[in-house]
Subunit: 351 residues, 4 copies
């Protein structure tokens, strides 16, 4: 059994990690921490886990590395820590844990950017642990599976980036789309904003409301453009507009792109490219001509639905994806990376 | 008092028309029709209107022009008929009503296109009354107020077109945006699909769901492009992606456009253009730099919120709007046109 | 014109008061206060009011009686102050305002109970202004219209009490129901909890959730039982269970009662009693045998829907009501009382 | 492996059965039928199952017993058929299947009542297979586990009855509550009405709506009272009011009862009774004094949350439960019975 700890387990991503790890057949969840909930039983904070055998006896610990390492036990090779913390704080945690030899999967943004300069530009403070940046692997298993397998420190991608990179990266790698002029509209459920207690997150402020936010420079742009640039092998700058929608969970992304190949062949080329890239990716659901992605078909799962259409009137490609922001967009993806890091089947505990 | 009738009053747009006309101080609602509800009291079909004095005694009539004309009475100059019918059927109704001398406001698509050829392309059948096309005025009061005042037949714009034309037309007229490359993402509440009894409209199929639909060639494209082409004085083809969102009412539209003037000046030029164009438009709410449009601030009203941002990283303009699809996007706009046609203040019964 | 002020206008009831007063043809809203929003324009805090002529120039004032009285002007007979404040604070405001001779309508619980002892039992602190208790009128216009007309200080009833008292009081007065054994289940939308920024009010904590709360001794019980006791002319104790439901607005109440008259005649007797009691009450919508109350038919209005059924299997009467908790349950009812206090038609500004 | 078929798999209960059986480690789902969807791939009708290995190759069959028996194969002892059909139709299917020797679990009401007379009273037609009534076991595993283990035909309880019987039956058996005067209010998500395509089920008719329905004589009353009567060993008649609430899934039930023992001891007696009755019931979550049931903590699971409070003012016991109407209230409970019938751990495939 892998022994696992979650640091910062009281938020929505942390709670989803708890759910997945309690149900994972090869994992023992041995520690969860939270500054606010320290001392409370897991089943008190999250009544939905009461009655699960794996949850019995688990209490929130103080957030402190020594106690967590003690709980993980002596066999560091079978230990993993998930960091579900705000950026900045996560990096501080990562240092002693990586040194101690446990594997670390960070759900924050702290190790997603290769450049400490870009980090400062988008996150507004110096990177707390720049020396670790080159050790970190951007953990999108569908695109970096081999690296994830060998990683000691995984930077698990953000929810918006996952919904954008999964459909686009193979197409840019294959030169099917022009890297200029990408226009992306994403719609996110409210859990994407986390469990922050702010007026804008109140039920009556969100229900029966639709709004764009975070334009023109959302923080996730930095990792989106970093990865698209790597895929296209030239600088990519995208137009990205996130919207807040009154559902609990889910991201729907709509992308408009200019084909690099003859328009009439573009749909077939895209489908073929995806088929090749994701032939062995159990969580990628290609919808073909049957349907367009719908978040209700992926909520609670680690799947991403993708589909494309070509508009003969404009000559553009329309690319769509849907995912659960807390599962494939956060906790599920982190568990998927864990499976690879420990040599387990990629889908273990996720289907 | 204006005497008014609503043909096809049992759908969502028809119901919203009933609400507005019952509360309008200068209108007597004298007839509502519905094939399905004929014979039933208005307050039985719509319990929310029970107890309103103006609703007392109103029953649904059979949908038949003779009875409606009789109910409107002899003074045809003070009579108006709203058509809240499917396309095709509306045009058939319009012919005898226009001939009879009553004013007609059509909420369907039948008289929105100037070209019967384009109509056939997008709606799949011959136009039922092509001779009336040139008499009809595309009734967006903010953009065609003078024509609406003189009109006998108003084609009231669709919900998506209104949310797109209000922010864009002044900017294209003023040459502030390039007419090529417009990318539009619109999000609509479920009432936009009407009261059709279909599985896709069931609560559990929509709640906790987000999805794109109607790509790549939504019917509303025809009127959107017709009006944008007139504004730009050259052919405009847009990329338009509608999405279905689990709210009852509201449309949020996000537009990406390429500025035609220096980027650094674009935001100020756009604000100035809107300020000029809408200086006397009581329902246009310019948000400036304070906030982005949010449907919850316009639901139940005839307002449109608009705002722009310029993205210095991409050099593009981002344009947003929010409206209630049933009010400004349908019934409210129709009443606004009626006010103009009868020489009333534009806001009468709408504030 | 009546000159009106709202103290504590930044909550949901306060916002609804603003909406109603801005649209009221006989009222000039001259002051709104809020500790948190002092200095901000009304249209900045509530973008939905931007563009309304009546809202122009209104800024939130500091919450301080002197400034409010100054804004109301010299003619105290044409001035009214609405208190949309927490209990305890409201009573402190009422004292100088009543002394100054302006009419006061308090939406808090401070003047609803006739007994300062009961107040302390349910609200946990001494009543701040017991001398005013006997001056206050419990402002349910349908039941106390004559007193409200003469009142200088109206205690506007709570949302749950209104939904319970409107159907029950006439029946208890008429002796149609036994006063013992009343079992009441009420369902409330989330706005009933106010704009408090707490974790339990976050969108994701409420959406897709149903739960009872506040049992067995909700604070509103005190005024419910006080008024039912007066109606029955003997002590009434009820079983009351409130539930939180993921809608923005609305209360649905289901009551089980034991008929005091022969069961076979009870339905007709109840309908006749309501017909008599509410013959001149424009906001009471009796549904008879046609339908059961549905909050969607009253949301945004000042109406209360009521209906009864008799269960021949159990011999009990089932009584239902629906209202908007922010309108008839708070702000609308307060405006209705204001209309009576100033000799206006009861429905002015409310239909 | 158990070979399983689902008859009528295109409704919400059927879909939930598909979800559970596809994930069940000891079951091979070999046939699903639907008159409307016959011929279509399972993953086409339910895109959310696309990509699951267990779903590959499954197509909807015509609803016809011969084909289903053929698909189940020769070993009838390892075969089970779930009937997710309307009442009346289910009984007709049960006859040949039971004769053929396969185990049958019926999710309809057809075998829940012991009396064909009561069936006709509540369902309006003669029972189609009265001879099978005495073979059927009312499959509430927590209360009839031993019988379920031996059963060949299980009548799986309805959603409302489960939420009522789980908390009440042990208390009536133990004589802690008076069997008279039970008042029950239940709140159900919209999926409880099934996937019927009717106007009342449309998104805009349900969202922002709360309403009671089905009073005073809901069909589920028949099985509720049958089972409560058995528990109390005397005739029990209850007051039951169901309400429709805009959530997808979940039932919340609030019960008011008169204690049969001293009020001051009732809470402790109830807790002790539940502790005894459910000591070995893995899906019963007793909340004690910590919290009240909340549907969001049980949605998607087979758990039932229960809690009680005693109201010292009225002397009554308040009893609450929450469950997922499609899981514990339908498909999950059926799978739980299947586990018992085949000697598997009760929680197999359900945790």
């Amino acid at each position: 059994m892998i022994r696992a700890a979650i640091i910062g387990a009281s938020g929505y991503s942390g709670e989803e990690l708890v759910r997945l790890l309690l149900g994972h057949p090869k994992v023992a969840l041995v520690a969860v921490t939270s500054r606010q909930k320290a001392g409370l039983a897991l089943s008190r904070v999250f009544p939905r886990f009461a009655g699960l055998a794996a949850a019995r006896g688990i209490r929130f610990l103080q957030s402190e590395p020594g106690g967590v390492l003690a709980a993980l036990g002596a066999d560091r090779k079978r230990a993993v820590v998930f960091l579900a913390l705000p950026h900045g704080v996560a990096a501080e945690w990562a240092v002693p844990l990586v040194e101690a030899g446990v594997r670390v999967i960070d759900l924050s943004a702290d190790f997603r950017l290769r450049s400490a300069v870009a980090y400062k530009e988008f996150y507004g403070h110096e990177h707390p642990a720049p020396a670790l940046l080159e050790k970190a692997v951007y953990g999108l298993p569908e695109l970096r599976g081999a690296e994830v397998r060998r990683a000691r420190l995984v930077a698990s991608p953000g929810c918006y980036p996952t919904s954008i990179l999964v459909p686009l990266v193979p197409l840019l790698r294959a030169g099917l789309l022009k890297p200029d002029g990408l226009v992306i509209a994403s719609l996110s459920g409210v859990s994407g904003a986390g469990r922050k207690v702010e007026e804008t997150g109140l039920f009556c402020e969100c229900h029966e409301s639709m709004r764009a936010y975070g334009v023109p420079k959302h923080r996730h742009l930095s990792e989106i453009e970093q990865e698209l640039t790597l895929a296209a092998r030239r600088k990519v700058v995208v137009q990205f507009t996130p919207h807040l929608i009154p559902v609990n969970r889910g991201i729907l992304t709509s992308i408009v792109a200019v084909p690099a190949k003859p328009v009439a062949k573009t749909a077939a080329l895209i489908e073929a490219s995806w088929a090749r890239a994701y032939a062995r990716s159990p969580f990628i659901r290609r919808l073909g001509a049957d349907a367009l992605p719908d978040t209700k078909n992926v909520v609670g799962t680690n799947f991403v639905e993708i589909a494309c259409r070509v508009d003969p009137r404009t000559g553009r490609a329309l690319i769509f994806s849907a995912e659960d922001n807390l599962t494939k967009g956060a906790a599920g993806q982190a568990v998927q990376s864990m499976n690879l890091m420990f040599g387990l089947p990629e889908t273990e505990g996720l289907l």
